[in-house]
């Protein structure tokens, strides 16, 4: 056994070094800050991306405002998939991104959702009936889906009526969580959170017409830290490609 290992080692070592050298050139890791609402789609995209390109995607999920603060303070993110277009634009103006790398990767769809079947009708009449105790939304100051929710309420003329019933999640994930645990009867969530394979997967929902609020454009950028990382460039290209587009649409986003 010993002998065999010894005689085998030099060749294996050379092969190993060869492998490392090759992968060192071709496969890189890319650190991505991902808006909470895009958690499920990016996981689906990541496995395809890793399969197709050999690069590895390391994702952190969170609120866009928080990511902005972290990026300004030296966070190691190389690509940023934001929940809005204003934060990436701000970073662009402040010179924190690779020039020309900003593009819209998805347009979000808002949904009024309840975990209970049949609770939300497909025209949102449940809001006017006003028989619920808590209506969950994402923090409108920080989350674009929250802002869109307040715009919808304003358009329906219900802002004052439901004011005392609104509970705020810090981001769209928490807004969803309040509804999914039944603590709020209904709430405004991202369609991507409740949409699977082209339909609402559980509970009842009203998919809000896009005319009722400003478009929720979600922009992506390559940050300065990712300037020389080929995997960062590869990821943004991949996001623009047909495979990613199909996945993104399957979660209820528009493009």
């Amino acid at each position: 056994m010993n002998v065999r290992v010894r005689s085998f080692t030099p060749g294996a070592l050379a092969a190993l070094i060869g492998c490392l050298a090759v992968t060192g050139v071709q496969a890189d890791e890319v650190q991505v800050a991902v808006a909470a609402n895009f958690t499920a789609p990016i996981q689906a995209i990541a496995s395809e991306f890793e399969k197709d390109t050999g690069h590895k995607l390391i994702a952190a999920y969170g609120a866009t405002g928080q990511f902005y603060t972290q990026i300004k303070n030296g966070a190691p993110f190389e690509v940023f998939l934001a929940a809005d277009d204003s934060t990436p634009e701000k970073l662009e103006k402040e010179g924190d991104i690779v020039p020309g790398s900003r593009f819209t990767y998805a347009i979000g769809t808002l949904a009024l959702w309840s975990a209970k079947d049949g609770y939300v009708d497909d025209a949102g009449k449940v809001l006017e009936k006003n028989q619920f105790k808590h209506l969950s939304i994402a923090n409108p100051k920080a989350a674009p889906y929250g802002l869109a929710a307040t715009q919808v309420l304003a358009k329906l003329g219900l802002t004052d009526k439901v004011k005392d019933k609104i509970v705020e999640g810090q981001n769209i994930t928490q807004a969803y969580q309040f509804v999914s645990t039944g603590n709020a009867e209904l709430g405004f969530v991202a369609l991507s959170q409740i949409f699977k394979d082209g339909k609402v997967s559980h509970g009842s929902a009203w998919i809000i017409p896009e005319t009722m609020h400003d478009p929720i454009k979600q922009d992506a950028v390559i940050l300065k830290k990712g300037e020389n990382n080929p995997a960062a460039k590869a990821l943004t290209e991949y996001l623009k490609g047909p495979k990613a587009e199909a996945i993104i649409k399957s979660y209820g986003y528009q493009l």
């Binding site: 405002g65 969950s136 923090n139 509970v167 999640g169 810090q170 603590n183």
Partner: protein, 226 residues
């Protein structure tokens, strides 16, 4: 730029929450601490461990379980609905319950240390003088354990003021009901309102320092408090 009315509402709410929590904790923490200090029961270990749990658990764990338990499908939620209180999530009462659990060890442990330090001897002397248990508690234990009570009250109050994760999970960020200072600061940072965040955060820093200064200064002057 100074503090807005929303900031003052958050400060007032936080002080109200911390005061109420402290009072409740002193009331229920005292018998627990007395029992822990004097019992020889086999349950002493498990109960002590349960009381200490919030020291090591991330607040998000406590908040998450409270969100499930106090929700309409949880045991607590079903109980409160059955007695006509509705659910406690997104309410001030819910925050008080969360804070009591969260700050429990910060009140019970100083009290327990104080009671242990007194030892059985003064209690036995009181008993030989025919003092009943209530009499013993108010005339002997309470004065002797006073520094322990002060420490417990200060720590319970300050720790509740500093609470964030639990409130975030069960509060729902409702102005004047569940939006406390720590959440308000988080909101400001999220919305990139750094100036307002600075004002509140600075105030918290000064407050926390003064509380600890008071605590450590009093500790120096009283050699044997707990």
């Amino acid at each position: 730029m100074t503090l807005s009315s929303a900031d003052f509402a958050a400060i007032w709410l936080t002080l109200k929450l911390a005061s109420l929590t402290t009072v409740i904790l002193l009331l229920i923490g005292t018998p627990i601490a007395l029992w822990l200090a004097h019992t020889r029961s086999r349950l002493r270990g498990p109960i002590g461990a349960i009381v200490a749990l919030p020291l090591v658990l991330p607040p998000t764990v406590i908040g998450f379980y409270l969100l499930l338990a106090m929700g309409p499908h949880g045991y607590v939620g079903q109980f409160t609905q059955a007695i006509g209180l509705g659910t406690l999530t997104f309410s001030f009462a819910g925050l008080v319950i969360g804070s009591v659990i969260y700050s429990m060890p910060f009140v019970v442990q100083p009290l327990q240390n104080a009671f242990t330090a007194i030892g059985p001897r003064p209690l036995e002397v009181a008993a030989t003088l025919r003092a009943n248990p209530w009499d013993t508690f108010f005339s002997v234990v309470l004065p002797l354990a006073r520094p322990g009570f002060i420490t417990a009250a200060i720590l319970g109050f300050a720790h509740t003021v500093g609470e964030f994760g639990v409130v975030l999970m069960i509060g729902g960020n409702i102005p004047e009901k569940t939006r406390v200072v720590s959440v308000q600061i988080y909101d400001h940072v999220e919305a990139l309102e750094y100036a307002q965040a600075h004002w509140l955060a600075g105030a918290m820093l000064v407050f926390s320092f003064l509380v600890l200064l008071a605590l450590y200064s009093s500790r120096k002057s009283q050699a044997s408090w707990s």
